[in-house]
């Protein structure tokens, strides 16, 4: 091989082996700020995201009504625009779509996706392209311990604060409950909730008189309920998504389970539709509900109304909307459509949402709580904390006596 050819080959090899780097670029002040996202419009998670595409478009319209996001460096407000794809509830599809949005669509920032099962492999794409990503409903704590620098999420509530207000309410009830029993669906999020809140229940002085985990497709709960009846707990704490818990609740009624309260950590309109009156008197958690005033609450109420969305039917909606609110505020705080500056703003900032302030820890996880609701006359009523309550809690729950 001649020397010239050798040098050419060496140069070509270096070019191939040199890691490609995506450098953050300053966005244009004359074009809308582009937020790339995926929504699980089809597949197993699609029942949780009905009307979310419309909601996302309406959110952009509402923000743009006043001109858009205030960007100091542009000396004006810049409108936002969403690029939305359907990830089909499939993680590999989500990965390829976020890659597409980074490489082909050239979005400025990422918001979403949702669900630990789908969103898990997406943040490395954001890391690779150095695009800040504020995911929605991603609550599994271990996801935030991967050393990612460009990843935040706005699950509402977080596992660590999921039932904080509920247990606060229990400590102030008269008669005071003494015992608690946990029934948990075999799922990472529901098991994480039980793992955290069973410890906190014990720390609060509640005696755990039973713990059962059930597979998602279990239909006959006779054995679990028989043990429940024998243990006679004051509180039954159900940690399960809506579908798998339906036969449990129905059979608890049929087999005459009695308790001061039956608490469902993921109570929502879907449970109510499926079990009907059996849900009466149960308590649950709700990140927020229209009527509770807070920053952006009027705008969010408008968005929900225009999108024909009921927050109780789709309890993960606020988590998704919070990801949009946080990103918009981060751009304002950064003062520029600059990925690195927005990243710094996300690390340090306090962000407003209708349910309260969102402050991220060093790993990108927020500390968001939830309000305690009770089903009274077939309607969810916020009953705790008292300052946000729309009505008083009925204690003990009469329909479970």
């Amino acid at each position: 091989m001649t020397l010239t050819r050798l040098i050419a080959v060496a140069a070509a090899t270096c070019f191939v082996l040199l890691p490609t780097q995506s450098f953050a670029t300053i966005g244009s002040c004359n074009e809308p700020i582009v937020l790339g996202t995926t929504i699980s419009e089809t597949g197993p998670f699609s029942t949780l995201t009905v009307h979310w595409r419309k909601m996302t478009e309406v959110f952009a319209e509402e923000i743009n009504k006043t001109g858009g996001v205030e960007v100091k460096a542009c000396k004006k407000k810049v409108p936002i625009k969403f690029v939305i794809y359907d990830d089909q509830s499939v993680p590999s599809q989500a990965v390829s779509l976020y890659e597409k949005m980074a490489s082909v669509d050239k979005v400025d920032f990422f918001v979403g996706p949702d669900w630990s099962a789908v969103a898990g492999p997406v943040p490395p794409i954001a890391e690779k392209h150095r695009i800040p990503i504020v995911a929605g409903n991603v609550a599994t704590p271990s996801f935030f311990e991967r050393g990612l620098k460009y990843f935040w999420a706005t699950p509402a509530p977080t596992v660590a604060r999921w039932s904080e207000r509920y247990f606060d309410m229990l400590s102030k009830m008269n008669p005071k409950p003494q015992t608690i029993l946990f029934v948990t669906q075999d799922n990472p999020v529901t098991k994480a909730i039980t793992g955290v809140w069973s410890k906190k229940a014990e720390a609060q002085g509640l005696k755990i008189v039973g713990e059962d985990t059930f597979p998602s497709d279990l239909k006959d709960f006779t054995s679990i309920i028989s043990k429940m009846r024998a243990a006679k707990p004051d509180i039954v704490y159900i940690s399960s998504f809506d579908g798998p818990s339906v036969p449990l609740i129905q059979q608890m009624r049929r087999l005459k389970v009695h308790a001061m309260d039956v608490h469902h950590a993921l109570l929502n309109g879907s449970v109510q539709k499926q079990v009907g009156n059996d849900v009466e008197g149960m308590t649950g958690e709700l990140p927020w509900y229209p009527g509770v005033k807070g920053p952006y609450s009027d705008m969010i109420e408008t968005v929900l109304k225009r999108s024909d969305l009921d927050m109780f039917d789709y309890i993960f909606t606020l988590g998704r909307l919070n990801s949009y609110l946080v990103m918009v505020q981060a751009i304002e705080k950064a003062g520029a459509i600059d990925r690195e500056k927005v990243k710094e703003a996300l690390f340090k900032g306090t962000f407003k949402s209708p349910a309260g302030d969102i402050v991220f820890d060093d790993h990108g996880q927020p500390k968001t709580g939830a309000f305690t609701v009770q089903m009274q006359n077939a309607k969810p009523r916020i009953v705790w904390p008292p300052e946000a309550a729309s009505t008083k809690v009925i204690w003990p729950s009469p329909s479970w006596q």
Binding site: T47, D186, T213, P215, L218, S223, S226, L255
Partner: protein, 291 residues
């Protein structure tokens, strides 16, 4: 662990097993006479349960009337399905016929599930009857459970009478015991197979109504039930009503007791192990020894 708890769980297990037995018996007949493994069998139960739930929610018809309506509809569906899609495969060679029936029944499973999900939604539903609960000491039995038990008993009795007192039943038993002999005696094979397929479909549709009273149903839950039904057919013996009932109840009780004594997530696996142990001890299952 008190005796009351064990009795409570046994009651639940027996009821669950009774429904399994109804599902399995239809499949057993279809396999015994038509020689087809119908992979869509459990899906037909799921679809029937969903339709029954919708009819009940919309018109509040009594479940008995709903069961009769669905029985008639699935009888016609089963007959036409066999004649149009499965019977033509019988003219092919053995290998093509077997592969073809698997493809047709699996395809039917997928299509039935998806069509039902599109038309009725994928959310689970059930027939929400008002019920009373009877307490005997610490044991609770709901009126819904009593009605289901009566339904299973009545249906088993009806099937028994059909098999023993009608020409159709005698022809079925004859073909099960001696196919060639039955043919010589003038049993029309094609018509009998179509009627058997239709009858098996009817049985599972009625089981779907009973299932929907006890548990929620959804369009995609059928295949798991088909697998349980296959197990019961093997253990109970092909075409054996008593064997299917015994094996079904054994499976239901095994699942319930495993959930009680160990963990619910182990119930399906341990009950299958139990069935396998029974087959090791008694290879012909609960059926009669073959000649």
């Amino acid at each position: 662990m008190t005796v009351d708890v064990i009795i409570q769980v046994l009651i639940g297990g027996v009821l669950l097993g009774g429904v399994y037995a109804l599902v399995a018996f239809g499949l057993s007949l279809i396999y015994g006479i038509v020689r087809i493994l119908n992979f869509a069998h459990g899906t037909l139960l799921a679809v029937s349960g969903v339709v029954a739930s919708l009819i009940y929610a919309s018109y509040h018809l009594h479940p008995v009337f709903i069961a009769l309506l669905l029985a008639a509809a699935t009888f016609v569906f089963g007959y036409l399905f066999y004649m149009a899609l499965l019977h033509p495969l019988g003219r092919r060679n053995h290998f093509e016929s077997t592969v073809g029936t698997v493809l047709v029944t699996v395809g039917a499973l997928l299509m039935l599930s998806d069509i039902t999900a599109v038309m009725a939604g994928a959310t689970q539903r059930n027939i929400q009857l008002d019920f009373e609960a009877f307490e005997i000491g610490a044991i609770v039995v709901s009126s819904a459970q009593v009605k289901i038990l009566l339904g299973i008993t009545g249906l088993m009795l009806a099937i028994h009478l059909l098999l023993t007192r009608t020409w159709f039943g005698r022809a079925l038993r004859a073909v099960t015991e001696n196919r060639v002999g039955a043919l010589i005696c003038g049993v029309n094979s094609t018509r009998l197979k179509a009627l058997t397929f239709a009858f098996g479909s009817t049985t599972v549709a009625i089981a779907g109504v009973l299932y929907a009273i006890s548990f929620p149903v959804s369009p995609y839950m059928g295949f798991g039930l088909t697998v349980k039904a296959f197990t019961i057919v093997v253990v109970g013996g092909v075409g054996n009503l008593r064997g299917a009932l015994l094996a079904g109840i054994l499976l239901g009780v095994a699942e319930s007791m495993t959930s009680l004594l160990w963990k619910p997530e182990w119930a399906p696996a341990l009950s299958m192990i139990l069935m396998l142990l029974i087959l090791v001890a008694k290879p012909q299952g609960f059926g009669k020894k073959s000649a």
